[in-house]
Symmetry: D3
Subunit: 329 residues, 6 copies
């Protein structure tokens, strides 16, 4: 059994039921999620041993978030209780020409205050095969930037593979550093990058002609880099997207099938399902099957409400084989 | 800030959740709405000062209806409490080949008994820029026909612009008058008509070759008439419609973009969103932008449950610009 | 008024709301349904007198199931209270590439223990015009296989028409008999068969080139056989299917319109709606109209949650006429 | 099996969930009920054959009301479809010092227009043992007053026992007749009256010292009268009531146990459960057991949401025996 | 019509349905409330013109909070849109021996940053009769302490009566000032204080023998002080409280009836209902009736879910008269 | 950190919302629970390391049950996936004179087929301090009787303390053995028994004068027995119970406080909360505090919906101290 470490913030997600707008809501449906923990939950559902590193307020809602991770099969020994808020995001699910809307209310969270020095890094990395981080953690606070850097450095020291979802978010990075001051250090120790042209530009503070140009630069600049993957999404409407993905090594390119998705049930967490599929694939199978698995997981997530995929490997394989959609009795 | 007056009945809307049929319903979702008040609510969301003229029973459900209008940003000083029922409509939301179904239960309402003589017309029209009426009000009762006529006449006297959504409903007009006995008088004082060929035929008791023929007749017959607008809807199924609209002056025609809408969340109130967009446009911008704004508002309403649009001007403009559908964080 | 007898198990159906996965469910929506009773309920909604033969546990949930049949307009005089469980099925409604999933928990049910000798067959068949059975009943237990056989034999004796939906289910037939040991006897007394190539193969333990081959064999082998009908379904995704159907006599073929259905609300019970439409048609009208009626009912069911159709004849006719989808006020 | 006929209006009941006020409601829970049909439903649950005479609008909500009666085990052959509204009542469930509140919206209903001449009285009364009416029906319209009178007269002709729940409602009787102009004629043919002092005063337009005085007068005045029953209710708060009842013949008095009820789940329909218990008792057992049965049914109804009791005879007997309240596994 | 100004934070209230614990919640019911706005809403329901001074974030949830105030009948002209969070509180409703639990998440709110200098105090106080503040506002931030002080000072200048609910909260006052550094200044301009012994002790940094001792001190120390009121609450359990109240002038004492409340529906906002009743009483009637009105409103609130009372003056008077609890038809 | 092993069936619990009867239910709320796992969950919430031994069907609902145990903090390494059903129970929550009702549907479950020989007993008992079983497990099947016996024997061999909740259920024990054929063997290795007079009688097939008589017999007969505890419950109604408990050693008796509980939120699982409190107490504190802790936990559970307590040690201590019921902010 492989062991994967994920690190990142877990937020309370509150969303009006069905297609209600915020202004109409009388109740919120509750989920807990965060990009990296979503990746972890999806991997745990496929039999991977997952350790999530994070921090939560000690009150009942913080405890509920941790209990949720446990329910998802994640080992929460490294989920610390720390003063601060529970990061929250409000999600209005869109439809047709109305895009989904997220109001973040995540400042001053317990996670944002997590000090890397309290973590027992030796114990955390024991038997670990993989570390996954995303560009959200270094963007939250100076403390979580240091935390991410420390995690990546430890992985490197121990020969643990590292994947990073660059995931540049312009509405974060408000604590005084720009992405390009932090990200290059993280990228240096990362073997698998999920990123598009714009992510590379923002994280490196450079301009690129196109994705290929950015990828070439990255392969040249970062010695340890093995794989770059990017997804393509055509947004016909909030209800209808077409998606596909590609995976590049220094020598080779692998292209996934394309999925035409309508009507979309929940757009959130589809990138995390993709990342989980990619990590699982690279840990267990060929590059071509890895990118197909990643995209199948990502496509399937559009049919599942909430932040996580809740799908079995068998279901992923049915999607890959194109035999999905029928009633299973 | 512009001031718009709307007048009309506000009903309790009761609908089974999701796609349940009436025969399956165990609960009804509650909304309050009515064509003209919907127009008013949409305008109020865009910063217009809206005054709605109507009547409600004095019991708690009548009060709840008025409170709802206040929540929507409408000034309810002219919402009278009068004996009678709260008009009600039951809505079963369709899907696929099953059209939505409305059961009206609106007879004997407080609104139907509203006497024009109790209204302080001077105060109502103070600083008013626009009056909007629809063909539903004169169709309900003799009293509301007189009310509408009086409103239109007052507007004319005071130089206030008047828009009318002809909206012919064959299941109304049951109090002893036919549409063509009342409507021409209302049309005489109306500058902006929203109507199709059939609306003109029923309201004027004439036959027309096509919409153009009807429009020519109207421009000739009604001196004060400035604009006629009609919408086109192709109903592929209850879940899938294609819509567009056009706006005609005596000299010119303006055509909106076409919107292909699937899957539709709520079909009700889309014409009212259109009317609000048109009024806002004609008050603030060019004819071409007005018809685009009207159609964008109408299209967007298909994604929002309930009678009202709950959208900002910024959102309308994104739809007009075709950049909608993406997640907004 | 025609009288139709249906026989079969009625199960408690439990499904997570909206598109939730089983792993996310906090509540289950309750329905009661079963293939043959669904057929009966749909016929009862069209003015047919329907008698359903089945058995239920005597506790409150068994009583609730019977009360539900009464609500659906079915005569429950032949719904016996017998020891055993209430057969249950759990339904997860799919979307996009995620097919709907059914977990059956129907073993040891009261119905599975129903002894044909306790039924007053004379009273049951009084004035009956039609008997409908499905391939599920003989697959459940030896007792219900005998029950079905007895019903079919009684019908034959009394000159009552018999329809059978072959509906081969590989996860049933676990009590020691194979389908081909039982089904031929049932088919001998059946005038109308609903079946595809695979159903015929499994029920007869033969291989066929195609449906036509199977149908020829059946017409040759079974003297009393008058009609064979099969449906075609292309599953683009769980949300999008295209369906059509055909009806064959010994001399003739009748083809229905094709329906393109997206987004599907509930896939379950669509075959039962089809069967009800076919029976109603063959009892009242021409073969061509019968197959159109069957397919219109089947198509319409995709828009209705739950096991039954809840539609009027008038609504079926509107679908047949292609004028559906518009708001009805 | 005894057969009981009930006649009266069945209304759509709409109530905000839990203890919400009307002004807070976002949804209504749906029930169907009416005093006499509630009595019928409770009797049907105890194995009585019940025929309910009423009228409903032909639309889907009228059909849903009839289907609900069928579900409750009532024979609906004499539920006519007639033009008019579906009578509606809105119920806000109280608590503590806040009494429950009912807004009636029942005018112009299909029932109010039911013409006694369309009823096949011979068929209705075939094998009947009992007719139950209440003071609500003659209070609704001249037509339903005639209907009630005709029913009572037919019962008298055929020697069928008649019970009447006098149930004076001051907010009805608005069609031009006072209670005392109609009720005496009905009382003349009634063997069992459920009434308190005030009911007698209003129905007879007389003043009485107390209940005993009223009862003496009634026994003297109405020859055929056999039983008078009244209930006592002490309303400590909306959540806490104490109730008991008594039953009087010309010679004897029977007193029920007293029930202290807190916290009350649903106060509506408790009188109808009482009436059902009384009718069942008088048809099957002694006067003392009848009044105990009536009060036990009435008390038990306070624990059940909705208009009907949904309880078995065995449960009633446990309440009578005072062994209730424990978990039953 | 009297005009009352209230000032204070309005929070998003999120609570698990029914009696669920935080750890069980799958959804939150949404309310908006805050002590002073609750007072305002209750007064507005009784025909008082209410102006609420506060600040909200400009996003949709801030707008929804303002729309809610409008719905409650409050004039929101002085509800500013300002950067910051929407203060939030999570409420777990207790029962029996389990007290209700509140998790506050209100730091960094828009209200906490509201600068008194942006308020047009002249316009706000135009025609005002009363200002109501609570001890929460000065406890939130230095800015809101200044805001409250300014409001009180303006009232004093203009001869507007001032009421203050001292409401000491130990978990606030975290911005560097203690209550006794701010509160005395506020009390100097306040005519009506709602406070118990502990409130006085904390706000004045003094020890008192008992409430009488504290009240004497306050009357001596604060010249303009006219009334002190305190409530008594005996908490038998979370479901069962007994409450009463008293009102003191310099010369006189007035005692309310006592209310025994079980089972409590919602404990939150009962003090605000009390305050509203007291203000209404002192504006319109005698001291004795004022304290009865206050306590009746406070008692009645225990039966209503949410933060506000939603009751009419007529309902309050029925509670005062002790005729409450019965069904009103 | 202490380690406790629990063993037993975990069932799907389905209950109509609020106080609905089975016959009214349109949806079921989902819980997972079982007597011994409930004990384990409560202990886990208090920081105990809990291992639960059980079996589940491999389908999604079985997985959901295991995920729920994980969420509750239980180690599920010994939760096996085995063929069979997921045991189910349907719960109708009572009120007033209507007792709660449970319909069991647990036959043929995966747990009932769990073979003791597949368990790695050495690993299970590593570092264990306590084993808890109940009389339900040996009553389900011969296989689970053997499983329980084996567990108890292993505990004895390893010197692990054993508690048993005798919990005699007459509707189980249907596999061919009587309680008294199995239970004495289990009791021989049990140090702590939770039982009343009737439990002892049924398990030993003896008659006793009273509880004291039974307890004396047990202490005499079973050498290793250290503690017997019984609870007293007076059922005033389904909504109102009074409870207390006592704990006996060979020399001493300890009596808990009495709790008067009204209105009860959920009666199920109160005995399991009691057992958890007792085990925790006996592991950490004095006998007197143990029985108080047990009863406080048991009392508090009446306020919490579902099978488990979800309470912290701090909350239990507040109940013990009698300071509960107040709002905690």
């Amino acid at each position: 059994m492989k062991k994967v470490i994920t690190l990142g913030e877990v937020m309370l997600r509150l969303s009006p039921p069905a297609h209600q707008r915020f202004l109409q809501a009388q109740s919120f449906e509750i989920e807990f999620g965060g990009s990296e923990a979503n990746v972890g939950a999806n991997l745990a559902a496929w039999g991977i041993s997952v350790q999530h590193l994070s921090a939560f307020p000690p009150h009942e809602l913080g405890q509920a978030a941790i209990a949720k991770l446990r329910q998802l099969g994640i080992d929460t020994r490294f989920c610390y209780l720390r003063d601060g808020r529970l990061g929250t995001y409000f999600l209005e699910k869109g439809a047709l020409d109305r895009g989904s809307k997220i109001i973040y209310d995540r400042e001053h969270s317990s996670f944002s205050k997590l000090d890397p020095d309290i973590v027992d890094w030796e114990e955390l990395f024991e038997n670990a095969d993989w570390l996954h981080w995303s560009g959200i953690s270094p963007a939250i606070s100076e403390s979580t930037a240091r935390l991410t850097l420390r995690a990546v450095t430890e992985a490197q020291k121990k020969g643990v593979k590292v994947s990073g979802d660059l995931n540049y978010r312009s509405n974060l990075w408000s604590y005084g550093k720009a992405a390009h001051e932090i990200m290059p250090e993280l990228l240096k120790a990362t073997q698998v990058m999920i990123a598009g042209k714009r992510d590379f530009e923002q994280c490196l503070n450079l301009g690129f002609k196109d994705f290929e140009d950015a990828a070439s630069y990255a392969f040249e600049k970062f010695d340890q880099l093995e794989w770059i993957s990017q997804t393509h999404r055509v947004t016909h409407s909030a209800s209808h997207n077409t998606i596909s993905a590609e995976l590049h090594s220094r020598d080779n390119s692998f292209q996934s099938k394309s999925y035409d998705l309508t009507p979309i049930v929940d757009r959130v967490g589809t990138g995390d399902a993709f990342a989980a599929g990619l990590i699982y694939g690279l840990l267990h199978t060929t590059p071509q099957e890895s990118i197909e698995m990643a995209m199948a997981a990502g496509a399937l997530k559009h049919s599942v409400p909430g932040d996580q995929l809740h799908a079995s490997l068998e279901e992923i394989r049915e999607v890959m084989a194109g035999v999905s959609g029928r009633i299973k009795r």
